[in-house]
Structure formats: structure tokens, C-alpha cells
Symmetry: C2
Subunit: 194 residues, 2 copies
């Protein structure tokens, strides 16, 4: 299964592509950053990022697109542009009939390091190790897009994202559900924003 | 000049079209609401609203698309979807080479009633009067989209939206600049979100 991860952003939108083979073996395919200049009007920036994302989808033809879930209260000066780019990524995937998934930063950390509050360096280290890379892709948005794709591949089967049904869970599923619930409690109602 | 106003929303996205003739005489062309169901997945909802907006642009071929400016801190449970739909409207316009404008709710109220803090009923009354309608289009999203289009037509020439240059203003321009500044002060940094 080919997974394209997106770390949405208007100035830098990270895109990372991996292949998830048998027994969850993951291999690196591609990483890049789609950019638009803050000097350009908002509508042309959105068009540029959308076109860049469409190009990646048409080149790598993923089976699923995994996008970072954006919250309203995080980093207010850029969050609206970030939310809009996440929306464009969902649109571009839906136009091609490709399913989308949304994972929060804590879900990504948990899936990759086993700890939903892991630091950036630890996540980067594990991304390199999981994909067998000699160095971490730069800038951070590129690394985050790969982490997002890996998260989707490594998430426990039947991961509880909405906290709906929590009986008969495996240990990994229970950890996942607990981390998700913790994130929901910390975030409050905006958790359901997207 | 034909203006298509958008009141962005994921469940109900208002679209209003007016024609601005000689000496700022405005006439009503069309009003509608593009809908998506909260029961559907987010990506399919965005696709549906985007397709609906593209259909309106291709039917009415406006000279400009005027969209409500969305702030991060307003009504948190739906603001991300609203921001994403505003982004889709900008994308759809940019794909067709149609310029876009963003106006805040207080700019709309000021342009239509002369008072940036006017109530909803007063705005609706003036929308009906300006367009010569016998009754107000329902639901409210449809009326707000017409108000957004009228605002773009009636805004003072050279309206100061960013507060950059404020010398040699007419009375209307100065009122506009003051209302915009007041809104900026009330909103804080999130004013520049979109």
C-alpha cells in the first residue's frame, strides 16, 4: 500500500511518500516541500499549493492520503492558511477517488515512538530508522510529512479515533485510544474541528 | 460589473450574485445555498461544496468573487470547515483567473448600513431595499452572501483594508479605515489570519 503524507502549510507544505509492504515493512519513496511565497496574494498561493499537491498525487498515485489534523487554537497567525491547505489536500484526493485519513501530531508521535508526547528529535530519529535513511530530510515539514505517512501505516488496526467503541481492544489499540482521549481533553471542543 | 458573494460554510455555503451598473446602481441576479451533509466524510463534503461553487462561477461568470474573511477565534466548532470552504472559493476563482476580495462582517455592515456594528435585521432590511427585493432570501447564509457582494460594490473607492495609506481620504474612506482599524484592535493578531 502506498501512502502519501501531507504536513499542511501555505508557505511550506510537506509531502512524503512511503510504501507499506508485507509484515508492515516500510520503504521510502519520495519527499518534497510544495512552497508558495508570502508576497503573493492568498488566492494565488492556494492555487500554487493545490497544483503542487495534484502533481504529487498524479505522479505517485497513492492508495491513501494521510493529512495532519489542524486545530483552531494552535499558532493563530498561520492556522487559517494551514487549515485551508489541509482542505485542498482533501479536495485533491477526493477528486481522484483516493481515501483520506487525518492524524493529530500526538497520534503521529505515539505510532512512531510509542510515546504520544515524544520530542521532535526522537520522532526524526525513528523516522530515519524506520525508513533506513542516512540523514533526515530537510526542512522539518518534509520530515513531518513522512512521519504522518508512517503513522498511518503503523497505527494499530481498527485504531479508535473518535473514541466510539472501546471494548475488546488490543494493548496497542488501548494505548492509541487513551492518547487520543487525552489529546481531546487537552484540546476541548476544537478537537472536532476538522 | 458582476459580483459573486460567498458566505463560506461547510453545511450551508451562501452564494449571491449581483450586477453593479452605472452610478453604483445594483441589481439582483441570483441567490442560492450550496449544501453538504454533516453525515458525510469531510473530504467528500469539501468536494461537493467545491463542485457547487465551480458550477456557480461557470454559470454566472462574475468579474470578481467577494468572500467573507474568517477569523480563527470565532465559533470554534465550525471555524475550520468555514476557513476551508473560503479557501476552496479562492481556489475556484483563481483557477478561472477571477480576482477575489475578502471583507469582514463589520466591513459588510458598514458598507450597507453606514454602521459597522449594525444588527442582522438592519442589514437584511438594507439588502432588500438596495436590491429592490420584496422579501429576504432564506436561509441567512443566502442573505449574507448577497450582503457580501453588495459590500464589495459599495465599498468606498480605494478602501483602506490593510491600513497602509491614510492621507487624503474622503469621509467614507475614513469611516471605513476607522471601522477596519477598530476591528483589527478588537481581534488582535488573528486579523491577519487569512
Amino acid at each position: 500500500m502506498r501512502i502519501l503524507g501531507v504536513d499542511p502549510g501555505l508557505t511550506r507544505c510537506g509531502v512524503g511518500v512511503i510504501e507499506a509492504g508485507a509484515s508492515r515493512r516500510l520503504s521510502f519513496i519520495h519527499v518534497d516541500v510544495v512552497r508558495s511565497s508570502p508576497d503573493e496574494p492568498q488566492d494565488l498561493r492556494l492555487l500554487k499549493v493545490y497544483n503542487g499537491l495534484c502533481g504529487k498525487l498524479d505522479t505517485f498515485i497513492p492508495d491513501v492520503v494521510s493529512i495532519e489534523r489542524v486545530f483552531a487554537q494552535e499558532n493563530r497567525s498561520t492556522v487559517m492558511g494551514t487549515a485551508q491547505v489541509a482542505g485542498l489536500a482533501m479536495l485533491a484526493a477526493a477528486q481522484r477517488g483516493i481515501p483520506t485519513a487525518l492524524h493529530t501530531p500526538s497520534e503521529v508521535k505515539l505510532a512512531i515512538t510509542g510515546n504520544g508526547t515524544a520530542g521532535k528529535r526522537q520522532v526524526e530519529f525513528m523516522v530515519m530508522r524506520i525508513l533506513g535513511l542516512n540523514e533526515m530530510p530537510k526542512p522539518a515539514d518534509a520530515a513531518d510529512a513522512l512521519a504522518q505517512a508512517i503513522c498511518h501505516a503503523l497505527r494499530p488496526a481498527g485504531a479508535i479515533q473518535g473514541g466510539e467503541r472501546e471494548e475488546h481492544l488490543t494493548v496497542a489499540q488501548r494505548q492509541w485510544a487513551e492518547a487520543a482521549q487525552k489529546a481531546r481533553r487537552a484540546k476541548g471542543p476544537a478537537r472536532r474541528d476538522m
